[in-house]
């Protein structure tokens, strides 16, 4: 949507014109007060009084007219600028050729800023140049302050216009972003309903299939795989967080992927655990190596449990299986013989992360325990 016509841009413009209405009154009071104070300067007091009445009347009309977006037509803006310039141009007739302060004075700001707000930097530039030209055109000699005022008009118009444009663009973008977020929330809500329905059916097929046996059991197994897959995806989706820095990864989601084949159970905290991407990937790779090792040495379908615990300064990850384990000293022996299978791939990875890897074996099975410090990941 264009930042000229979007409702948010129009709302910004409305606000700016309301602020301008206040400014118009301030500069009007200033112009009237200065004229009254220096009433002797008027060579034609009647004409001067008529001009002041015109300024007051136009200010009142302009405040009313600019209040509604649909009334801000080119005609209104052109009339606004024309009146400001006309008052400048008749100043020599009212005050005499050698006047010092123009009749409207700073009151011309109203028209200038209206152009800046409505026609942005280009409008501000056009109005600024025209008003400055009118002001300088009348003067017999141009003093330094006359030049300074003209310069400010030409510079100020476009700057204010540019800022108005930026505000309107930002408001339009924010409006779009808010609507996109609302749509995403609604989509997520609908997705939950869809996912829940699908998960229910997959779980039911899996359960009944197992009970019926035969071909139904195969179907049930397939349903089970899909169910785990979908649950993993939902978890990954839940942790999509726009605030996360690109170089960190939620290791909870990464570990959950290990559950896909159905023999690994992953237990984690209920909150995201963000780690630097490299650390997370190494930890997951080490965990995968442990799981593969169980596959090779225990059984293809042996159950494995993975537990992640996270505190602000470190993460603890343990991988347990119910296999007979590795006899004490067996790994070191293998390493000493130059065979660096498990030892290298698991201990090495964890040591590289500045952590420790312990292996325990007993009646409870075999358990690896990794402790890795969280350095740069701390919030």
């Amino acid at each position: 949507m264009s930042s000229w016509t979007s409702p948010a841009a129009i709302a910004v413009e409305d606000r700016l014109f309301r602020a301008l209405a206040v400014l118009r009154i301030v500069v009007l009071v200033n112009a009237v007060a200065l004229s009254v104070y220096r009433w002797d300067n008027f060579q034609r007091p009647t004409a001067g009084a008529a001009c002041i009445v015109a300024m007051v009347a136009w200010t009142a009309f302009a405040i009313w007219a600019y209040d509604e977006h649909r009334r801000r037509t080119f005609l209104l803006l052109a009339a606004d600028l024309a009146i400001a310039m006309a008052l400048l141009l008749i100043t020599p007739m009212v005050k005499g050729a050698g006047f010092s302060a123009s009749l409207p004075g700073f009151w011309v700001m109203g028209a200038l800023l209206a152009w800046s707000i409505h026609y942005r930097w280009l409008g501000g530039l056009v109005a600024g140049v025209l008003i400055a030209a009118a002001d300088l055109f009348l003067r017999q000699e141009i003093s330094q302050s006359d030049y300074g005022n003209a310069f400010l008009l030409v510079i100020g118009g476009p700057i204010v216009g540019f800022m108005c444009q930026s505000l309107q663009q930002m408001a339009t973008e924010r409006d779009l972003a808010e609507r996109a977020a609302a749509a995403a929330t609604e989509r997520a809500r609908l997705a939950r309903v869809v996912h829940d329905g699908v998960l229910q059916v997959l779980a039911l097929v899996q359960r009944r299939g197992r009970e019926l046996g035969g071909e139904a059991a195969v179907l049930g197994e397939l349903a089970g795989q899909q169910e785990r897959e979908l649950r993993g995806l939902i978890r990954a989706q839940e942790s999509v967080d726009p605030d996360r820095q690109a170089e960190t990864v939620d290791i909870v989601v990464e570990l959950a992927r290990l559950e896909h084949d159905g023999t690994v159970t992953v237990s984690t905290p209920g909150f995201p655990v963000d780690l630097p991407a490299a650390t997370a990937h190494e930890l997951v790779a080490a965990t995968r190596a442990c799981v593969d090792n169980v596959r090779r040495h225990v059984a293809e379908d042996a159950p494995v449990w993975v537990l992640l615990q996270a505190s602000p300064d470190r993460v603890e990850l343990s991988v347990r299986d119910e296999g007979p384990g590795i006899p004490a000293g067996r790994l070191d022996e293998a390493a000493a013989q130059g065979r660096l299978g498990v030892s290298e791939s698991i201990r090495g990875r964890i040591a590289d992360l500045g952590g420790t890897a312990e292996l325990a074996t007993g009646s409870f099975g075999t358990e690896w325990e990794f402790v890795v410090p969280r350095t740069s990941a701390a919030p």
């Binding site: 939950r192 996912h195 829940d196 329905g197 998960l199 229910q200 059916v201 997959l202 779980a203 039911l204 899996q206 359960r207 009944r208 197992r210 009970e211 089970g224 169910e227 649950r231 939902i234 978890r235 839940e238 159970t265 992953v266 237990s267 984690t268 905290p269 209920g270 909150f271 159950p303 449990w305 537990l307 992640l308 615990q309 996270a310 505190s311 602000p312 343990s318 347990r320 007993g362 009646s363 409870f364 358990e367």
Partner: protein, 221 residues
């Protein structure tokens, strides 16, 4: 009392908005000799039928039409503190499961659990035994960890070292028997530790709710 005798008297209510599921669970429970005293397909129905049905165990789906499973759990436990709620959830979304357990649920299973796992869980829950999956134990551990990282925690509802140790082992998939062997404890003691962690979790929830009510001035009557 043998297990069959005990289970024949268990009064169960099944709450699930998917008719296929509700029927399957109901049939499994009845085939196993349990007494299904009520069914409901949404939160409103469940709460309306609960007082008359007086179940010992409620098998509850979390994602049901409003009020949702968490609210239903809280309300049922409020009306009858002796009721046991077993959550049966399809998606197993972390936040929901944790909220239900904090609200007073005694156990949690994913729907892909087998018929036998379900029956065992219902019987254990009826005896007041929490049914912790490894996944739930991980969530609860995380919750206590998060709490201990907050500076304002009251020390009386944190876990003891032994309780943490037991809960960790549950989260690593160890059975109570294996835990008892490894820690040289009785099976009953391990059960008590697990029960205590659940009690502390729920107590903390009540303390938080009360504090919230006092802050909001809801107690001024």
């Amino acid at each position: 009392m043998s297990e069959t005798e005990a289970s024949s008297t268990i009064r169960v209510m099944v709450v699930d908005d998917h008719p296929m599921w509700r029927d399957a669970v109901e049939r499994d429970l009845e085939d196993a000799g349990l007494d299904v005293v009520g069914v409901a397909s949404n939160g409103r129905e469940a709460l309306a039928r609960f007082p008359a049905a007086r179940p010992q165990v409620v098998v509850l789906d979390l994602q049901i039409p409003a009020p949702d499973g968490v609210e239903v759990t809280a309300e049922m436990v409020r009306q009858d503190p002796s009721v046991r709620v077993l959550i049966l959830s399809a998606s197993g979304e972390h936040a929901d499961v944790l909220a239900a357990v904090k609200a007073g649920a005694t156990g949690y299973l994913v729907k892909s659990a087998s018929r036998d796992e379900l029956l065992t869980a219902v019987r254990r829950v009826a005896l007041g035994d929490p049914v912790f999956t490894a996944g739930l134990a991980g969530l609860v551990l995380g919750e206590f960890q998060r709490r201990s990282d907050e500076p304002t925690t009251d020390r009386d509802d944190t876990l003891t070292e032994r309780e943490t140790e037991v809960l960790k082992m549950v989260a690593k998939g160890m059975s109570y028997r294996q835990i008892a062997d490894r820690l040289v404890l009785s099976h009953r003691t391990v059960q008590n530790h697990v029960q205590n962690t659940l009690r502390k979790l729920q107590m903390h929830n009540r303390v938080e709710l009360t504090r919230y009510a006092i802050e909001r001035g809801l107690d001024a009557e």
